[in-house]
């Protein structure tokens, strides 16, 4: 794709666990089109946070990029020298960490922390930094008078907004947000998502939003990438993903969510079992052990991620039967629940 700001291809990230390589992300790939919000969803341990962090190359000490490319704006982030990468952080790619609420330093005033980024990274002078900080606060809807506050004087929602302001300080092209609303109340959650969305449109940003919440993706994201056990299993525009999922895991995730606008409450259907141990990943499809539609072929041969429909990628041997599988996936008995 030519209009992609970011193209990840065949990316693998290995953790050194007691001398053995464990692939938290395994040959994964997806695109982030210019000016869009892409959701990265999956269960804990599926590799979504590791993948997001790899984009700024801030990963754990025992982790390394074991292969693949991350093409961003004409460069491969996986190959950049540390000094070149460092020059891109904040300026080209900004990261909002998980529980950004707690990522502000409690002993410095918020203004100082924003000014630090502006001065050290953006070459701003003191006065300009101050003006920019005020501008940023207004942008995210906090009164500029609160810049002199310490983080503890902020509510959770304000801290989250401040973290967004910080990420936007140097007008990056790409913002990676890791669970930006997970710890927040519903009303604040909605306000933050609205804010992020309108800033994204105003500034023409591209955003990767890591989350485990399908409702958040449905509300916010243009495209959605579903990860399972270190692999991308499905990737397409959000409406198609939710209405006509091709992968049984995506179908299962949808069943597990309560929908407040639905007529009745029905029964939520969990996906039984848990993800495989990545120290000894199974041969074949990694979801096979929990998949109600798995065949011997699924257990033996790993399905590659393929473009099934234009712009709709899926890694499932039975994707061509998806319409029939969707109908069966809607029945709780399919997932081992008694009616």
């Amino acid at each position: 794709m030519t209009d992609a700001l970011l193209s990840i291809r065949d990316l693998s990230i290995a953790y050194d666990v007691a001398g053995r390589d464990v692939l938290a992300v395994s040959h994964a790939g997806f695109d982030v089109p210019q000016g869009s919000i892409v959701g990265l969803v999956g269960e804990s341990g599926c590799g979504k946070t590791t993948m997001a962090r790899a984009l700024t190359r801030v990963i754990a000490d025992n982790a390394r990029i074991a292969g693949g490319q991350m093409h961003f704006d004409g460069q491969d982030l996986a190959q950049l020298s540390e000094s070149r990468m460092n020059a891109m952080r904040w300026r080209d790619i900004a990261f909002i960490p998980q529980s950004a609420m707690n990522s502000l330093d409690p002993v410095y005033r918020v203004e100082y922390q924003i000014a630090e980024v502006l001065r050290d990274r953006g070459g701003y002078g003191r006065k300009d930094a101050r003006r920019r900080a005020e501008e940023l606060f207004e942008m995210v809807g906090i009164d500029a008078g609160r810049l002199r506050d310490f983080p503890h004087q902020f509510s959770g929602g304000m801290r989250q907004r401040a973290a967004i302001a910080l990420a936007l300080a140097l007008e990056p092209k790409l913002v990676v947000a890791d669970e930006p609303v997970t710890a927040l109340d519903v009303i604040i959650q909605r306000q933050i998502l609205d804010q992020l969305r309108s800033l994204q449109q105003e500034l023409g940003l591209s955003v990767i939003m890591v989350t485990h919440d399908i409702s958040v993706v449905a509300y916010t994201c243009d495209r959605t990438v579903v990860m399972y056990a270190g692999k991308v299993v499905e990737d397409c525009d959000t409406a198609t993903l939710l209405n006509e999922p091709l992968h049984p895991y995506t179908m299962g995730l949808k069943n597990a969510f309560p929908d407040l606008r639905s007529a009745g409450t029905g029964v939520l259907t969990p996906i039984a079992g848990s993800p495989p141990d990545l120290v000894n990943p199974p041969s074949g499809c990694r979801f096979a052990a929990r998949c109600p539609f798995a065949t011997d072929h699924c257990r033996a041969v790993e399905p590659p991620l393929m473009e099934d429909q234009p712009g709709h990628n899926v890694a499932c041997h039975r994707a061509h039967e998806a319409a029939e599988l969707r109908a069966r996936a809607a029945e709780p008995e399919t997932w081992g629940m008694s009616a």
């Binding site: 009303i187 958040v216 597990a256």
Partner: protein, 325 residues
């Protein structure tokens, strides 16, 4: 046996804050976590306590299992004033009224094997040791942990979040309580396992005929578990009625905002701006009159002067001067 299990009348829980110096400076000396709450819960009835952080929902839940004591008003459990219970009565109450905590990893001792975690309440309640094993196995089976033997000698870190939350649930149920308070029991869990834990909770509650309170800020979850919902804001009840009615047609402006704010797993959903802005105000300094008025799109002068008393509107009690069907 009386029909009423829980009865609150003008219950208040005011925490003292600050010190002599702050008092001299005229700063507020109390936080009104629960401020004049009244409702009753029939035997076998479930209610969801819905509201944002700081609205007093958890404090109220803790009062009902006597982890906190109210400072004014009355809170009765099966006809008895909870804070007056002493000695053997209190001991009996402890077995009958149980809490399921939000974060399973904080709610169990990491150095206790699951067996010991579950045996502890039995020991405290003076259950004969000969019965322990059957009770432990039975409780684990009750919460859907099949083949329970394999969990007995495991430690919390060896269990997934979903499994551990079931253990916490088993511990709350092992003394066969009449009443449980579940405080956001799935908020720390991964989405794919949430459904399983919610289903177990619903199922066990119905099978044992438990009276239950389910605390959450997410109406979609409350709706899945409870037929009745109480919406709280800054220590007070804003609306109380059948969950389906509140979801379909919320009457209080605050309930309306809560309903509008819940995202759905569906791309065809409203992106209209919320009717209210900001976050809840400082609970040390709540607004005069209606506590919700400074965020309320309908607030008028009267709201600053007069605390709206709960009024019956159709199926519901609503504390708003202007709400109408």
């Amino acid at each position: 046996m009386s029909e009423t299990m829980i009865e609150l009348q003008e219950a208040r829980l005011h925490y003292k804050i600050g010190n002599a110096v702050s008092a001299m400076m005229g700063l507020p000396s109390t936080v009104k976590a629960v401020d004049g709450v009244s409702f009753t819960l029939k035997r076998g009835e479930s209610v969801g306590l819905l509201g944002e952080s700081g609205c007093g929902k958890t404090s109220l839940g803790r009062v009902l299992v006597r982890l906190e004591e109210i400072t004014e008003g009355s809170a009765r459990f099966d006809g008895e004033e909870i804070k007056e219970l002493k000695g053997a009565d209190l001991q009996r109450f402890r077995g009958r009224s149980q809490m399921i905590f939000q974060n399973p990893f904080d709610a169990v001792n990491p150095r206790y094997a699951i067996r010991r975690t579950l045996e502890e309440p039995l020991a405290n309640a003076g259950i004969p040791r000969a019965e322990w094993r059957d009770r432990v196995i039975g409780a684990l089976e009750l919460v859907g942990l099949g083949d329970p033997e394999r969990f007995l000698d495991r430690f919390p870190h060896q269990l997934s979040g979903g499994q551990l939350q079931r253990v916490v649930m088993a511990r709350a149920l092992i003394l066969e309580p009449d009443f449980v308070v579940a405080d956001e029991p799935v908020s720390m869990l991964d989405v794919s396992v949430r459904a399983g834990v919610l289903n177990v909770f619903r199922d066990v509650r119905d099978r044992l005929g438990l009276t239950a309170i389910y605390i959450s800020h997410d109406l979609a979850l409350v709706r899945y578990v409870c037929e009745r919902t109480i919406v709280m804001y800054l220590g007070r009840i804003m609306e109380d009625g059948p969950t389906e009615d509140i979801v379909r047609d919320p009457l209080h402006p605050y309930s309306q905002a809560l309903v509008a704010a819940v995202p759905t797993p569906n791309v065809a959903q409203s992106h209209d701006p919320l009717p209210i802005g900001g976050g809840a105000p400082d609970p040390r300094n709540p607004p005069s009159g209606c506590v919700f008025r400074d965020r309320c799109p309908r607030a008028e002068a009267r709201c600053a002067e007069e605390i709206p008393q709960p009024r019956q509107i159709g199926s519901r009690l609503v504390a708003c001067h202007f709400a109408a069907t």
